[in-house]
Amino acid sequence: MNAPIEQPPQGSPALRLHRQLAAIWATGPGWQRLAAVNHSIIGLRFMATAFAFFAIGGVLGMLTRVQLATPKAAFMDAETYNQVFTMHGSILLFLFAIPMIEGIAVYLTPKILGARDFAFPRLTAYGYWCYLFGGTILTGALIAGVAPNSGWFMYTPLSSNVYTPGINADVWLLGVTFVEISALTLAVEIVVSILKMRAPGMSLDRMPIFGWYMLVTALMMVVAFPPLILASILLEIERAFGLPFFDPTRGGDSLLWQHLFWLFGHPDVYIIFLPMAGLLSTMIPVLANRTLIGYRAIVVAIIALAFVSFGIWVHHMFTVGIPHLALAFFSAGSAIVAVPTAVQIFAWLATLAHGRPRWNVPMLYVFGFFFTFVFGGLTGVMLAIVPFDWQAHDTYFVVAHFHYVVGGAAAFPLLAALYYWLPLLTGRTAVYRLSVPAFWLVFIGFNLTFFLMHLTGLLGMPRRVYTYSGHEGWTWLNLLSSVGGFIMTIGFGLVVIDLLAQLRYGRRVRRDPWRAATLEWAMPIPPAPYAFASIPEVETRADRIAPGELARSLARGEGYLGFARNGWQETLGIHMTSGTPEQVIVLPRPTYLPFGTALATAAAVLAMLFQFYLLALAMALVTAGLFVWSGQNAGLARDYGPLPVGRGLSLPPHTEVAGAPPWWALIFTLVADATLFTSLLFGTLYLWISAPKWPPAAAPEPDLLLTFAALAALAVAAVAARGSLRAGAAGGAPQGWIGLAAVVLLAAIAAIVALIGGVVPYPREHALGATAAALLGYVALHAGIGLLFLLSNLLRLASGRISPRRTLDLRLSRLWLDYTAVTGLVAFGLVLALPALVAMLGARP
């Protein structure tokens, strides 16, 4: 990190404070950079890595355009082409779009909300390393010629091991799941941080609109990623161990994959759009010199958008044979989802109309956004109309549509945001000579490439064909699209050169060049590792700040926590809605643990990929052990009571309050977990009602005794967890209760393993057995994780990290075991109900 540009006079309070805080928050040089946990560093790493993957994915796209420029081209054969287009989509969506958003969220959110860092810095770092390693596995496979080749959405049975026997599909399933689990953990962190770690006084109605956008997006991620994770796990189990979930010859259904995938896939595109819209909602008011119009309307619109986007996934499946009446809800919903988007568009137009907009490079890219995104949205509404989709589905019309919306919703706002915020990141402004021609090359190239594809699709060119005969009337269109692609690539190249030029030769700035109005500018430029030298008290809506004056005041230590204490990295936690400060949050210092844990996780993934399952299990246990180890130093070693935080206020540390960040993190993790569980329940019921070859030949006969024993054991474990909490809070010895809980959990796991062993029909023979085994396995896994919680509690009791005032660990275990018991009840209930459900099938005509 560069030293900040602002250098106050020698010996001033601001300089002393800066030195003290910088020493505490700094990351060491050299190898110690692997131990970084600071959000500014990790955020930049995410963004830089995402850019690298954008380049790779973009090149892959250009390779397809070279192949398709002429009919019967010999540039690539079908097998190579299939890997190239699959990786183009997979890399751009999983390794560029989502991580770029996460990078922006990690870098920007704490600053714009007035916090010094995110809630779980080590988790942020772990998320980055998992992304890097997962991305490397995927890209490595591409170089080795074994990249996934069944399309970025991997429809079964094509992606099953019958039709894709090599490791290509496993690379996708394992690699993408690896990256998505880390994205999920980041999503939980973002939710908790936005809710609990804002500047004092920043009640929800004063939060900058970007905070609302990220909060809604992160909540969407929490609910959208689990169906994909579940589907990937089930498909990998089917490929590796032969349990049929999607195999229609054994009671599975290939449409189940599609439902689970698109249940993730559609919200995914809004997860990509919303943060960009949040950036636009932050930039446009500044560029128009007028506060954002429609703040409240926008919040309601994005909430509506978030929910409705989960209810329209079947518009990707209009041609699979689902009855028209069912398609109707998804068609109407897909049209209505345009309304919240229109609300935002017109809020932005109103802001521009009521302000004094200026033309500059960010505004140029805002224009690019308006044109391409509205265009793409309009073709989206066309595709929402079922009969039209029956012609356009799976043609280049769809390819045109989604490139317009993704280009519009992601690429143009991203570039606008880069030009806008690069002065903050780097302390320099753009040179501008290249920027405008670069924009026009990108814009013209983009439109030439993708506009023609609408016609190409309507002339009948399907997706994913590696060549064409030349007699269909598509030749000129493809050639021109390819030319457009090259123009666009040159344009992007110029943008990269322009941005690099800015980094090297840009004019240095001390303050924001835009007359911005949000908190991220109220600090030295580029930001110091501690972000805020002292934390502001917010008294107006936090997009009406005067950052310049505030920056000086905060640097002098006039806000909260304007001092160093015990070498701690401190920030404030607040009441969720009102913004009243309520706790001091002490954050972990740099450590190699996230890096090491990510390595262990990657080792587990690679072992599974190469089918060394015992090794994979061992590495999974090592990973679990590392997580338990990471928990050992979390929190504080003794009780502290209220600590002074400046401005006459004293607050307890986070270890001694009820609503500490880890508590909320577990709650939202369980929301994600419950979504995965619900997807599994619905998957089972879907197969029951809809899959071919039901009922199976062998009728299920679940063992009642074992099931009740397992359930009873889980209930006792939950009760014992309560006992341990009561004992801990009263100053007694919780170890007895913890021991009891551990013993009954082991008994429960044993009972469940026996149940799985006795599942009829045999899980490899029919999906009924496979889903029953999956439901039981889910409960056993949670009981096993419960054991990890209990182990951690015992260790932390021994080291004095748990006390009557610091009972967070015991409350977390109780919550986990309650969840395990409840999901156990539901899972066992469904397994016990299976015989009756199967018998009902006899009543079908």
Partner: protein, 111 residues
């Protein structure tokens, strides 16, 4: 600072759309089961209609509850903000339920 805005108000922001989600899921499930078990078309349609009506009734109750909030909350503070937005979101959810789910009552049932 406004201490009268408990965190559970945040749940109300999404509650209307949670009811909409339940309506969508229930409708899709009843339709799938009804078609698989070849229920009579008019009975199936009645069932679907009942599902929609129950959910609209729930939304109407929530709308009413939010619209007739206690006196003194219109102070422009955080509580007012959250209650107002919850009301707008619930109205939007009601519109979504009627517009998205309503038309299905008129179409051929299982083809």
């Amino acid at each position: 600072m406004n201490g009268a805005a408990p965190p559970r108000l945040l749940v109300w922001l999404g509650a209307g759309f949670v009811v909409w989600s339940s309506a969508l899921v229930a409708l899709y499930a009843v339709h799938a089961i009804g078609c698989a078990f070849a229920w009579r078309a008019d009975l199936l349609r009645l069932g679907l209609g009942a599902v929609i009506l129950i959910h609209i009734a729930a939304l109407a109750m929530m709308w009413h509850r939010l619209a007739t909030r206690p006196v003194g909350v219109t102070d422009g503070g955080t509580r007012d903000f959250l209650v107002t937005l919850s009301l707008w979101a619930t109205i939007a959810a009601t519109a979504a339920t009627v517009l998205i789910l309503g038309p299905t009552l008129l179409l051929t049932t299982c083809l």
